[in-house]
């Protein structure tokens, strides 16, 4: 028995001398820990003891109270529309269903500077629009040739009559306040533009007045998209400047009168501009085409001739320029001529001078390069 005890001790001592393997597996250890923590973070995998059941009831009750409190809390009204005001600079207001301004966003650097410290949130749009005009007027004074554009783009399921009322009320308020500021009349344009065209216009970085003209010309969202794409391509290749964008839009609008599709109109103008022609030259050519159609020529034929004319347009351009120079010398009092006609080719009434491209008529061909430069500066400066 004693000997057996000694054997046991010796055997134990022997076993204890054996080196046992020790293996580190840090990657596996870290991986398993991640899995465990991921599992621990899942509440559905937890045990369902009485204590957890109690917590579940408490959570449900807390969630119910939270929902109830949220329902009782005053909630912001849905946005009704965007209202953009452009007098160069431009500002966008977001108006709610009570016609209160809930957001104000300058659309350019000049507006950003002009509206520093301007706080009108929660006030009715009809009161905010005149205040915006006043603040903008301080930064960039309006004059009698200024134009005010108000463009409303409905949001959500706004009723058309509500949108029309918003526009007419704010337009009237803007017009009256501008008269007060300048002690005289200022043209105030108003337009409702659907959200699709509005989105396309934003994508093309068009100013409110630019896309307002396009919308006014009846160009669809598809057509506007084509125009924006063409305009972007032309700008990228240096064939169109920012200031000419408006003229480009007007040219397309003119072409639509020939009865051709919007896509074809955009493509035609783009191709003509790519060939190096000026927008001014193209206005003349399109007007000639319109005249030919009025005299009974088929629209398709007129468009074909328009394309063909471009082949020999360079010579004609030079001749036109020579004519213009001569006319300039013979007519020094251009101011008299400017006030002569205030109607644009589509018959829209305007009160500003006919140096506006959308109020062009044939006499615009008489504009000198100097006038063009002045206009460009005005556009750029604004």
């Amino acid at each position: 028995m004693e000997s057996k005890g000694r054997d046991d001790k010796a055997f134990v001592a022997e076993l204890e001398t054996i080196t046992l393997p020790h293996i580190d597996n840090p990657l596996f250890k870290a991986q398993l820990k991640s899995r465990l923590l991921a599992e621990a973070a899942l509440p559905t995998r937890r045990g369902t003891t009485n204590s957890t059941a109690w917590w579940r009831y408490a959570l449900v009750a807390a969630a119910f109270l939270a929902v109830l409190s949220w329902q009782l809390m005053p909630r912001p009204l849905p946005a009704l529309a965007y209202l953009e005001i452009e007098v160069n600079p431009s500002v966008r207001l977001t108006v709610n269903s009570r016609r209160q301004v809930v957001n104000i966003e300058p659309l350019d650097e000049q507006a950003k500077l002009a509206l520093q410290g301007f706080d009108v949130l929660g006030q009715p749009a009809i009161r905010v629009v005149p205040q915006v005009l006043e603040w903008l007027h301080r930064a960039a004074p309006l004059n009698h040739s200024s134009e005010i554009w108000l463009i409303v783009s409905p949001l959500g399921d706004a009723q058309p009559e509500v949108i029309d009322r918003l526009l007419s009320n704010t337009q009237t308020a803007a017009s009256l306040h501008a008269q007060h500021l300048l002690a005289g009349a200022v043209t105030t344009h108003g337009l409702v533009i659907d959200r699709v065209r509005y989105a396309v216009a934003k994508q093309g970085a068009l100013r409110p007045s630019q896309y307002a003209r396009v919308a006014k010309a009846g160009i669809s969202a598809y057509g506007m998209r084509a125009l924006v794409a063409a305009g972007t391509r032309l700008k990228a290749t240096g064939k169109l400047t920012d200031d000419q964008t408006r003229e480009f839009m007007d040219l397309v609008a003119e072409l639509l009168e020939l009865g051709i599709s919007e896509g074809e109109a955009a493509e035609l103008i783009e191709s003509l501009l790519v060939k190096g022609h000026s927008t001014r030259n193209l206005v003349t050519r399109i007007e000639r085409a319109v005249e030919r159609i009025e005299k009974g020529q088929e629209a398709k034929e007129a468009v074909r001739e328009l394309r063909e004319e471009t082949e020999r347009v360079d010579d004609e351009d030079e001749a036109d320029e020579r004519d213009e120079d001569e006319t300039k010398e013979s007519r020094p009092d251009k101011e008299q001529e400017r006030g002569r006609d205030n109607k644009d080719p589509r018959g829209n009434e305007g009160t500003r001078g006919d140096d506006s491209p959308d109020h062009r008529d044939q006499s615009d061909d008489d504009q000198t390069e100097e006038e063009e430069k002045e206009e460009g500066e005005e556009e750029g400066g604004n």
């Binding site: 046991d8 046992l20 393997p21 990657l27 899995r35």
Partner: protein, 202 residues
């Protein structure tokens, strides 16, 4: 421990404190890195899921983990393999595993290291051949370095019972190793055989 029942991070701390000991024990019992990884995974997953059921009754958390590991190993030895938690399911829930190839390489290196411990391998095989009720007592004593009181806590048995089980278990182990020494397989393990010879003064 209480915090770990509701806080995953606290469970992570318990994992860090206990992983090495539990993994080493399972590894020494199974003699297989891959199997040890599977069993240790299952052990901690079971612990995680059963954490709310754990009540402090004088049994340390580590003893509770050993108990889970022993149950899982019993299943492993019976079935030869065990069920694992689906990694795909966890990945769907946002878990990003470490590179599988790295983990596999790590396991292979571990297995090679394991194979080098020939004396241990002989003892392990002998322990595995013992009747089940002796296996855990002997293994906890020599593979985990546990004292009688610790073994009693893990197995939930009185210390006296553990003591007698250990005594009988050692007796059977010694017989088994003596038998093995005589066999060809055992004689192919010179380091262990030599040491045995020296101890017993043959």
């Amino acid at each position: 421990m209480e915090r770990a029942q509701r806080d995953p991070e606290a469970f992570g701390l318990l994992y860090e404190q206990n992983y090495d000991a539990i993994f080493s024990y399972i590894l020494r019992r199974t003699g297989n890195v891959e199997a040890a990884q599977e069993i240790v995974s299952e052990t901690f997953f079971i612990a995680l899921k059963s954490l709310s059921k754990f009540k402090w009754q004088g049994v340390p958390f580590s003893a509770w983990l050993y108990r889970i590991a022993i149950n899982e190993m019993a299943g492993y030895f019976r079935r030869g393999r065990i069920r694992t938690v689906s990694l795909e399911t966890l990945q769907e829930e946002g878990f990003e595993p470490a590179s599988e190839s790295d983990v596999e390489r790590e396991a292979l290196a571990g297995q090679e290291e394991l194979e080098r411990h020939l004396a241990y391998q002989a003892v392990r095989q002998a322990v595995e051949a013992l009747p089940e009720h002796y296996q855990e007592v002997v293994a906890l004593r020599f593979f985990a370095g546990k004292q009688i009181a610790d073994i009693a806590a893990v197995l939930g048995k009185p210390q006296g019972t553990v003591k007698s089980l250990l005594h009988r278990g050692l007796d059977k182990l010694r017989q088994a190793l003596t038998e093995a020494k005589r066999s060809a397989t055992f004689s192919e393990n010179p380091p262990y055989a030599e040491r045995r010879r020296g101890t017993y003064g043959e």
